[in-house]
Symmetry: D2
Subunit: 225 residues, 4 copies
């Protein structure tokens, strides 16, 4: 897997330790995006849920800014909130609009259990733990989508807009920045040998659990319609 | 339904407004407890998850004490933490022990997605909202189990210990106390006409969402083993 | 006081109910800024503490975004975090730099008790309460500085840069926007008759306590050096 | 200082690193308690504020239970909430009642800035950080009072009830338990060499800041009346 994008040390470690990582990044839903065989209805079902997901995700990144300990961390987290609101969310709104789903319909969508599970797990990790717990819970989504985007780049087909949004250099740079933010935050707090601490296992479990919930999110997209 | 137990005004209203209330309190899993036809393996699967659930639930009640605004609220919430640790959790430990599942095995259990969804939803409601949001998210579990216990009282059968724990007057009194705590908290903050405020719809939605997640919890018990 | 700026209904009410409002907005420190007789050492002492204050304040606005319930609230709060980081904080850095205090010195400053009291009161109000509690605790600073800026406009003197920063139409517009955000948030949650609810007294007390702590902050500037 | 009580490793280290530790534990207010020369009015002023302090302190220990990661931590923190509500708070109520200050008067007391500073600092440390941050912020009060009680034991005089409450073996045992809870929590998360990590400096600063705010609390008692 030498062609995996490099988003830093912590991510490389956590990814290797998360049993469900491949089930997440190679889920049948993802394969359907790649081959173009994913039914449109499933994609739209996913997209509506993902719109609600992003609202919670923006809240989680805002919480990261609240829990930050340096001005640089505050600025990085706040910039991500802005990126979500200005980059990812409008993409969803546009694609849905073209499919006849307007913003009111988007916002009236009921959150699916798999959506509640994931978003609330992340937010609660942040509230109950500290900045690092939140980063470990946020990482599978941000960086996993980056990895999927990089792998699916150039696939073409009906979902090429979605693929390009995450394959795009702008998003890839965001992933590298988030990876660097996490690595720096770990070293600043726990020292360069952080991976040997019991704390590292806690954080790895956070990442692994969030990864499991990502699998559930794709599955929800595949099952629903 | 004139034989429903009376746990106060807010509960009566929220229950009536939660579309999934009957799906929760009359779930096939509950019927299996009543008739005794629920396979033992499903019950033990449920019980292991419920043990992990109660740890998170104790944390949520502790959070309620942290978010309380009066000494009486702090004391009521803290007493519930103690009741959970001394009343419900030992029951689970004993039943599991008799089935050959020791405490180490209990604590090594991986939280199922339906468990994560429910517990994190409750905790996050508490962290992001205030004391009332937390109460509305906690109520379906505490009071729903009371309602189920009252209905199944005297059913006998292999699950009579479980049924009696919630049919028991001690647990019923806890339900009335929690109901009164919620009613008082609402009136103290929002006035006696609280049900007419937009805030009431938010709280009702919290209750309804938590109720939906209770359905998922029973279903997890029925599906898994 | 017909020449007071109009930052909305909630602010007008809370200001009228806060016993220390005039002690805050007409504090001897403020008068010293207006007349120019405030010793430079006190101003710099204040500015260093205020720089640390703004870091906590940015965290508090980020928390507001995390606790928001609509996308519009998330965006408004996130925009304020950006405004603080890009508008107010650089002003402090520049003024301090001209006085020979570099960023490292700024960040090495120990938070004074009056600073800890105010910032942690605001953050804790936000964590323990909900979005409205946080707004009520944040309002005295944002809007009080706007009111002071509007009153001191055109005073000239050695502190005219500071005065202009808050008298400036950009800052005045921010104040009107924040006032509108608060009014809308109140009506959305508590209805148009919110001021008659017990909840209104809680929020008014939050505002009044934060105002008391603002007085302590000016006094810290006057006492220290 | 070989006669200092032993409340564990973390406390010994943090105490040694907190510049204001002696200013706190040997404050003129404490000396006044020891010699009996502290004016009654100052003691009662302190006691009224301390009653309000304990309500916030109970909330902070409840938050610790919410942020705990093991059942043992939840139980220890919840037991402390109960101890505060049943041990320390009634002592205050009784002493105040004998001085003609009833519970209503106690609860109507306005929190002094020094009180707000300390309690909100502790709560915010807990909300923004994790369980360890909260423990480091809580420790100076719990354990400092234990150290003062042990030192003043047998002083007699008009304040012997207060002194005995903290010199008492029950309170001393609580201090040893809290010290052990902290040591175990540190090792469980950060490993046995935790003191060498950058994280240790953060925690030590939390403890040192809370100690500074304890000095302010005594000073408030001495100044007010």
């Amino acid at each position: 897997m030498s062609d995996l994008p490099d988003y830093g040390q912590a991510f490389a470690r956590w990814r290797a330790e998360a049993p469900a990582w491949d089930a997440y990044t190679h889920h049948a839903f993802v394969e359907g995006l790649r081959t173009g065989r994913l039914p449109r209805a499933n994609f739209l079902h996913y997209l509506r849920q993902d719109y609600l997901f992003l609202i919670q995700f923006a809240r989680a990144w805002a919480l990261a800014a609240a829990k930050a300990e340096t001005l640089a961390e505050i600025q990085a987290a706040a910039a991500t909130v802005q990126a979500l609101a200005q980059y990812e969310m409008p993409l969803h709104v546009q694609v849905c609009a073209r499919a006849g789903i307007d913003t009111a319909a988007l916002e009236a969508t009921e959150e699916a259990p798999a959506n509640l599970a994931y978003t609330r797990y992340v937010l609660e990790a942040g509230y109950s733990g500290d900045f690092l717990d939140l980063m470990a819970a946020l990482a599978p989504c941000v960086l996993g989508y980056g990895e999927i985007g990089a792998r699916l780049k150039g696939s073409g087909g009906p979902y090429c807009d979605w693929i390009n949004a995450y394959a795009d250099e702008g998003y890839q740079r965001l992933c590298r920045d988030v990876g660097a933010l996490i690595d720096t935050a770990l070293i600043t707090r726990l020292g360069s040998d952080w991976a040997s601490l019991p704390r590292a296992r806690q954080l790895s479990r956070r990442f692994a659990t969030a990864t499991r919930l990502e699998v559930g999110f794709w599955q929800m997209g595949l099952d629903g319609a």
